[in-house]
């Protein structure tokens, strides 16, 4: 198999999905952000965003903290070290493949 094609096949599928790629890219540029920010920036609806975040959390890429801002519940999200490394690796492989 062509090495470039093999690189493409090796891409992390958890991150490769467009919605999750947007989430991971946004989170990689900040210390942490809340659910509303991700919703506003990605334009993904609440249910789908929640589902993507669950997958990323299960993969150990995103840490979720439930808290309150005044009386309003707030979900804070940040990329874990594993998530950060996986994203860097993903970008490197994608660059090689392209």
């Amino acid at each position: 198999m062509n090495p470039q094609i093999r690189t493409l096949a090796d891409l992390d599928r958890v991150i490769h999905e467009p919605g999750r790629l947007m989430i991971v890219a946004l989170l990689s540029a900040v210390a942490r952000a809340d659910f509303l920010y991700l919703q506003h920036e990605t334009g993904i609806n609440k249910g789908t965003l929640s589902s993507h975040l669950t997958k990323l959390e299960e993969a150990g890429y995103v840490a979720v903290t439930k808290t309150y801002r005044g009386k309003v519940p707030q979900t804070l999200l940040c990329l874990t070290d594993a998530g950060r490394n996986a994203f860097e690796q993903y970008r490197r492989k994608l660059k090689e493949a392209l």
Partner: protein, 217 residues
């Protein structure tokens, strides 16, 4: 890859999405001008001379906590909360490059230019930094940056007597009247331009975002 790059830049652009940062900077410039003006126009034994540093620190605290309060009450409930990564290295490199550029320009122009011209040059460096940062998000901010640069040039070439007259009544530094006049005029103009730019951004932000519904985020 370009789209990923764009996504990585989004949080930086979000920093001034509401124009509150510019409004804070405008209050800093206008407040500084006001303090300077009060020092120039009041007797040497007045409270403005003795406690100007305290007023300045008070103003900085007011801007810091005021900005934070607006973000907490208006921005975060509408478009979400972001905590930026502490990028000390980038900040240090930026500050270093800015300082070096100013130093180099000062050395180059020192012989032909006086202090007030160099002060104007410093303001132009600020305008360039502002344009580079703010215009990444909104192109029309280049007009504000351009207006700042033009204002600095106009102030530099204003009649000397007029600029001296602005700064003449500062008892401690009578020889520096033109320099102080330049600083004062520049701070006032930059403050006004930042106020206009920040005000427009804030108004547009309020128009294009909805107040929060009482539900979880």
């Amino acid at each position: 890859m370009d789209q990923i790059r764009t996504l990585l830049d989004r949080p930086k652009l979000y920093n001034n999405i509401d124009g509150v940062g510019e409004l804070g900077a405008s209050i800093l410039c206008l407040g500084y001008s006001l303090i300077l003006l009060l020092i120039m126009r009041s007797p040497a034994e007045s409270v403005w001379h003795r406690s100007s540093f305290l007023f300045f620190v008070g103003m900085l605290l007011l801007i810091h906590y005021g900005t934070k309060a607006v973000k907490t009450r208006i921005t975060y409930p509408r478009t979400g909360f972001v905590e930026h990564r502490k990028q000390w290295r980038t900040a240090a490199i930026g500050a270093g490059v800015g300082a070096l550029a100013t130093f180099a320009l000062t050395v180059v122009f020192r012989r032909r230019w006086d202090n007030s011209m160099l002060a104007s040059l410093g303001w132009v460096v600020l305008a360039t930094g502002y344009g580079y940062n703010a215009a990444k998000a909104l192109r029309w901010k280049w007009f504000i940056a351009g207006a700042m640069a033009v204002a600095s040039l106009v102030i530099t070439f204003l009649p000397v007597n007029f600029v001296r007259a602005v700064g003449r009544e500062f008892p401690a530094r009578p020889d520096q009247a033109k320099f102080l006049g330049t600083i004062l005029l520049s701070a006032m103009v930059y403050g006004a331009l930042l106020m206009i730019s920040g005000g427009i951004s804030f108004w547009l932000y309020l128009r294009h975002t909805r107040p929060p519904a009482q539900e979880g985020q």
